[in-house]
Point group: C2
Chain length 108, copies 2
Amino acid sequence: MDMDPVFRALADPSRRALLDRLHTENGQTLGELCEGLTMSRQAVSKHLVLLEEANLVAVVWRGREKLHYLNPVPIAEIADRWIGKFERARVKALVDLKRELESDDEKA
Amino acid sequence: MDMDPVFRALADPSRRALLDRLHTENGQTLGELCEGLTMSRQAVSKHLVLLEEANLVAVVWRGREKLHYLNPVPIAEIADRWIGKFERARVKALVDLKRELESDDEKA
DNA sequence: GTTATAGGCAACTGTTTGGTTGCATGTCAA
DNA sequence: TTGACATGCAACCAAACAGTTGCCTATAAC
């Protein structure tokens, strides 16, 4: 699985807001997702396309309505496979930095 | 804490690669981080600035050398405060989608 | 059938971004 | 002190991006 589209999709605040909206109420139509937003329907639609391509949103057509469903799996995979690696390094990094600063002090 | 700079910094593959390099070996200089890369030193330097601004990298000057240290804390915070929310919704979302698809079948 | 509704497609625009190059500055070493 | 080394600053460029507008298609409702 390529995580790059996921990272890129998550980089935009508008798209994260859309995920938040779906998190609050799943299965909304494009029109519903546009309500209360300042940008045009087209802008929202484009954002949703990127979210779909990142597999963060799944769609189901019902007649002329397109229902959008949050798919948290890619987010979970990022947490598992990518963030976990750095989380494990957390304490180590702080220790490294502390040691480096101390060796600086010795030189001063 | 504003997570937006973190998300934006993580959106670029080159910057994630730099974090990987620091994860492998912490406290590298700009010159060291440039080794083996195709892009110019300036390009790497700019990426590092963004990583610093996102607080993902901490720097320590030692003479004319700038040592770069990975700071995994913002990544951990994203995992805790943002991803956790969606992770909790994971099963719920799948159930929602399944129910919706089934109600579609009934209509067909 | 006609009309309103939900959404898609394509062209265009201003801004951001990732990258380059050239030059300037500060630090170590001979 | 002179030169080499490590980095920063500024201007510039092409491509990507977020957003708009106008028009087209398909479904639902009357």
